[in-house]
C-alpha cells in the first residue's frame, strides 16, 4: 500500500515536472539595435498576457545572418522567430524556408502595413515576414552651416546642389567636412550606398537579360562624381567609413551633411549623444539632374518564422504582438513618440502626435518614394533598391564594393574598378547559370 502510494506520488510529481518543463517558450534571434533592445524590455507584458516565455539570442548583424542561415538551411530548429531583412525574406520565402504569415487576426490590420514594406517582405503576394521597423535614406544636414554658407537646402535636392553645398560648408581648418558618406566595403555598407547613388544617375546592376552593366557610362558617371565630391569635401580615410563612423563624425559636428538611413535621425537629434542635436535639418535623398530616380533605399528589419519550428502558433502570436499598433502605443506611452519603431505602419504617420516628431514627415516621404520593383530609370529583372534579391548578390556585391573602396582609397582608377567589377560579376553570374 505504501509502495503504491509512493508510486502514485512519484507519477504525479513527474507529470507536474514535465508540465513545468514544457511551459511554452519561444526563442528569437535578433540584432542589436535600439528598437530591438527596447522590445526585449517589454517582453514581460507579452508573457503576462499569453503565458509564453521568450528567450532572446541577440547577435551582431553579420553574425546573425550567418547563424540563422545555417540553422534554416539545415532545419536546425534552434529559433522559433528570426529577425531578417528585406534581402533574405523573398528568397527564403520562395525556397519554402519560412512559414507564410497568413490568417493574421482582424485587429492586427495587415493592410495598415506600408505597401512598400509589405511588397518587399512578400513573395508572389504571400507575406513571409512582418516589419518591426522600416527605413529609407535621406539627407541630414547642419542648418547652421548651411546658413553660414549662404545656401538653402531644398526639400528635394540634386546631387549637383549637394556637391556645391558640400564644397561651401567644408572648413578644413576647423575640421569640418562638407559631406560624410559610406565608403566601407561590404554589400550592406558602402555597397548599398554606391548602388543607390548609381540608381540616381540612371545606372543599374543588370539589364533585362541579367547582363552586368558596369561597362555602361552611367556607372562611370556615378562613381566618378562620388569620388570627386568626396575628395573635395569628404573626410580623410572615407574609404573605411560606414554607418557608425559617419554617425560619430556627424554627432561631433564634423560633417556638414550626411546621407544615410532614416533611423539615424533619432540618434543625431538626441541631445544626450549629439553635440548638434538642435541644428539638424532633413531633405530627400538626392538625384542627378534630369534623372527621375532618387538615391534613397528601402529596408526593413522584420520578424519571420522558420519552417522548421514546432511552435509556429506561439511564434505567430508574438509577431502579431510585437508588430501591432498596440505595441507602438505601449512604447509611445512609456518613452515618447520619437522612440516608437518607425517605418512600418501607415497609421503611425497619420497619428497627429507622431507628426510632431521632426523627422517623421521626411522619413515617410522617403519610404513612400522608394519602389523596389523599379529601383532605377531603366527596367531591371530584379527586385530591390540597394540590392538585387537573388542569392548570388551578397557575395558579388561584397567583392564589387571592395573594388570601389580601393578607388576611394586611391589605389586604383574608376575605370580599372569598373572593368574588374564587370569581369567578376559576369563570371559569377554565368557560373550561377544566369
Amino acid at each position: 500500500m505504501y509502495l503504491r502510494n509512493a508510486l502514485r506520488a512519484a507519477t504525479a510529481m513527474t507529470f507536474v515536472a514535465t508540465a513545468a518543463a514544457h511551459a511554452q517558450s519561444i526563442t528569437i534571434a535578433t540584432v542589436n539595435n535600439g528598437d530591438m533592445i527596447r522590445m526585449q524590455g517589454y517582453t514581460d507584458k507579452f508573457t503576462e498576457a499569453t503565458g509564453i516565455d521568450v528567450e532572446w539570442v541577440t547577435l551582431e548583424e553579420n553574425v546573425l545572418r550567418q547563424r540563422v542561415t545555417t540553422d534554416i538551411t539545415t532545419k536546425g530548429g534552434q529559433f522559433d522567430i528570426m529577425t531578417i531583412g528585406m534581402y533574405e525574406t523573398p528568397i527564403w520565402g520562395a525556397n519554402g524556408w519560412l512559414v507564410p504569415l497568413d490568417g493574421l487576426s482582424a485587429e492586427y490590420d495587415v493592410d495598415d502595413i506600408l505597401p512598400a514594406m509589405r511588397n518587399g517582405l512578400s513573395n508572389d503576394g504571400t507575406l513571409y515576414a512582418a516589419p518591426f521597423y522600416g527605413e529609407s535614406s535621406m539627407v541630414m544636414y547642419r542648418t547652421d552651416l548651411m546658413e553660414k554658407a549662404g545656401l538653402e537646402m531644398p526639400d528635394a535636392p540634386t546631387w549637383q546642389f549637394i556637391r556645391e553645398a558640400a564644397a561651401a560648408m567644408t572648413d578644413r581648418e576647423n575640421d569640418i567636412n562638407g559631406i560624410c558618406l559610406r565608403g566601407k566595403a561590404g554589400w550592406g555598407e558602402g555597397g548599398a550606398f554606391i548602388t543607390v547613388t548609381g540608381n540616381s544617375f540612371g545606372a543599374r546592376w543588370f539589364d533585362e537579360d541579367w547582363k552586368p552593366q558596369f561597362d555602361q557610362p552611367e556607372w562611370n558617371e556615378a562613381l566618378t562624381f562620388f569620388v570627386d565630391m568626396m575628395n573635395e569635401s569628404g573626410p580623410a580615410g572615407y574609404a573605411t567609413n560606414g554607418f557608425n563612423e559617419n554617425l560619430s563624425l556627424f554627432q561631433q559636428g564634423k560633417c556638414g551633411m550626411w546621407i544615410d538611413a532614416t533611423v539615424a535621425a533619432s540618434f543625431v537629434t538626441n541631445p544626450d549623444d549629439s553635440t548638434v542635436a538642435d541644428k539638424v535639418g532633413f531633405a530627400l535623398a538626392p538625384n542627378s539632374e534630369g534623372v527621375d530616380k532618387r538615391s534613397n533605399w528601402l529596408w526593413a528589419w522584420a520578424l519571420a518564422i522558420p519552417a522548421g519550428t514546432e511552435q509556429a502558433d506561439a511564434a505567430k502570436q508574438f509577431i502579431e504582438w510585437a508588430t501591432s499598433k498596440d505595441y507602438i502605443e505601449l512604447v509611445a506611452e512609456s518613452e515618447g513618440w520619437a522612440n516608437v519603431p518607425p517605418g512600418a505602419r501607415t497609421s503611425l504617420y497619420e497619428n497627429p502626435n507622431y507628426q510632431e516628431v521632426p523627422f517623421a514627415k521626411m522619413t515617410l516621404e522617403s519610404i513612400l518614394s522608394a519602389d523596389p520593383n523599379n529601383p532605377t530609370v531603366k527596367p531591371v529583372p530584379y527586385v530591390g533598391i540597394q540590392f538585387a534579391a537573388i542569392p548570388e548578390f551578397a557575395g558579388i556585391a561584397t567583392q564589387v564594393s571592395q573594388e570601389f573602396s580601393a578607388v576611394y582609397a586611391g589605389q586604383q582608377t574608376v575605370e580599372e574598378a569598373l572593368e574588374k567589377a564587370q569581369a567578376f560579376t559576369t563570371e559569377e553570374m554565368e557560373a550561377a547559370g544566369y
Binding site: 534571434a29 542589436n32 539570442v57 547577435l59 548583424e61 553574425v63 547563424r67 540553422d71 538551411t73 534552434q78
Partner: protein, 276 residues
C-alpha cells in the same frame, strides 16, 4: 666600466620590455577605460584618456539586460571541460610519441598540426548537421567535444615537446622497478612534467575561453558562453561602444585575473627547454 654597461643595458631592456608590454596591453586598457565613459564620451575627439566623469552606468545596463552569470558559467564549463578532456587524451598520445616513436611519428605530428590550417567555416555545415542528428546543438557537452578536438593538436604538440625534455632513462628505471604503464605515466612522468602540463592547461583554457566561431554558431540560449554575451552588444547601426566595452571587460576579467596569477607558471612552461 663593464658593470655600468651591463646596468645600462639592463635598464634599456626593462624600458623596452615595458614599452612593448604597454603597447600590447593598450587596447585592453582602452576597452576598460571606455567602459566607464558615457556613449558620447566614448566617441569624443580628441579621445578622453582619464579626464572624464567616470560612470558605472554601462555596467548597470549590461547587468540589467543580460544574465552575465549564466554566460560565465557556460564559459567556465566549456573551456574547463574541453581542456581537461584534451589533456586526458593528449598525455598518453604525447607519451607514445615522445618515448616510443615510430617512423611515422613526425608525419603524424605534422598532420595533426595541419588540421589547424583548415578554415573552420569549411566544416560548419557537416558539424552542424551532425549536431542536429546527435541532439547536441546548444549543449555544453557538444561544445566541450568540439573545442577539445580543435585544440587537441596544440595540446599534443606542447606535451610532446615537454616530454621530450624528460630523460627516457628515468622511465626505464621505473619500469625496471616493476611500474606498470599506467603507474609510469601517472606517478613518474606526470609529476615531472607538471610545469609543462600546467602551462598547456592554461594556454588551452585561454584559447577555449576566447573561441568565437563554434561557440557562436553552435549555441543559442542554454549553452551560450561569454563570446555570445559580447556579440550581443556589437552593433553596426548605432554607437554603443561604451556598453560593448563594459560587456567586453566583464567577459575578459576572469581570464585576465587567472592569467595574472598564473603568469609565472605560464612563462616558465612556455620557455621550458628553450634555454637548453
Amino acid at each position: 666600466m663593464a658593470r655600468t654597461v651591463t646596468t645600462r643595458r639592463k635598464s634599456l631592456n626593462t624600458v623596452l620590455a615595458w614599452a612593448v608590454g604597454l603597447l600590447i596591453f593598450f587596447p585592453i586598457l582602452w576597452t576598460i577605460l571606455t567602459s566607464f565613459k558615457t556613449e558620447a564620451q566614448a566617441i569624443a575627439s580628441p579621445p578622453l584618456f582619464l579626464n572624464f566623469d567616470w560612470t558605472l552606468e554601462n555596467y548597470a545596463i549590461v547587468q540589467e539586460r543580460s544574465d552575465y552569470m549564466r554566460f560565465l558559467w557556460n564559459s567556465v564549463i566549456i573551456a574547463g571541460g574541453s581542456t581537461v578532456l584534451g589533456v586526458i587524451i593528449a598525455v598518453p598520445a604525447a607519451w607514445a610519441m615522445a618515448f616510443v616513436p615510430s617512423k611515422r611519428t613526425k608525419d603524424i605530428l605534422l598532420w595533426m598540426l595541419s588540421t589547424k590550417m583548415l578554415p573552420a567555416v569549411g566544416v560548419l555545415y557537416p558539424i552542424y548537421l551532425l549536431f542536429i542528428r546527435l541532439g547536441l546543438l546548444d549543449t555544453r557537452g557538444g561544445l566541450v567535444v568540439v573545442l577539445m578536438l580543435i585544440n587537441l593538436p596544440i595540446i599534443v604538440w606542447m606535451l610532446y615537446t615537454y616530454f621530450r625534455e624528460i630523460p627516457g632513462e628515468i622511465l626505464e628505471a621505473a619500469r625496471m622497478d616493476g611500474a606498470t604503464l599506467k603507474e609510469e605515466i601517472l606517478y613518474v612522468l606526470t609529476p615531472m612534467a607538471i610545469p609543462g602540463i600546467a602551462s598547456t592547461v592554461l594556454l588551452n583554457f585561454i584559447l577555449a575561453w576566447n573561441e568565437a566561431f563554434w561557440t557562436l554558431n553552435l549555441t543559442a540560449v542554454d549553452a551560450a558562453p561569454l563570446t555570445a554575451f559580447i556579440a550581443s552588444y556589437s552593433s553596426p547601426e548605432g554607437l554603443f561602444f561604451a556598453k560593448l566595452s563594459a560587456a567586453s571587460t566583464m567577459a575578459i576579467a576572469p581570464i585576465l585575473i587567472l592569467g595574472w596569477f598564473s603568469q609565472k607558471q605560464l612563462v616558465r612552461g612556455l620557455t621550458f627547454g628553450a634555454v637548453k
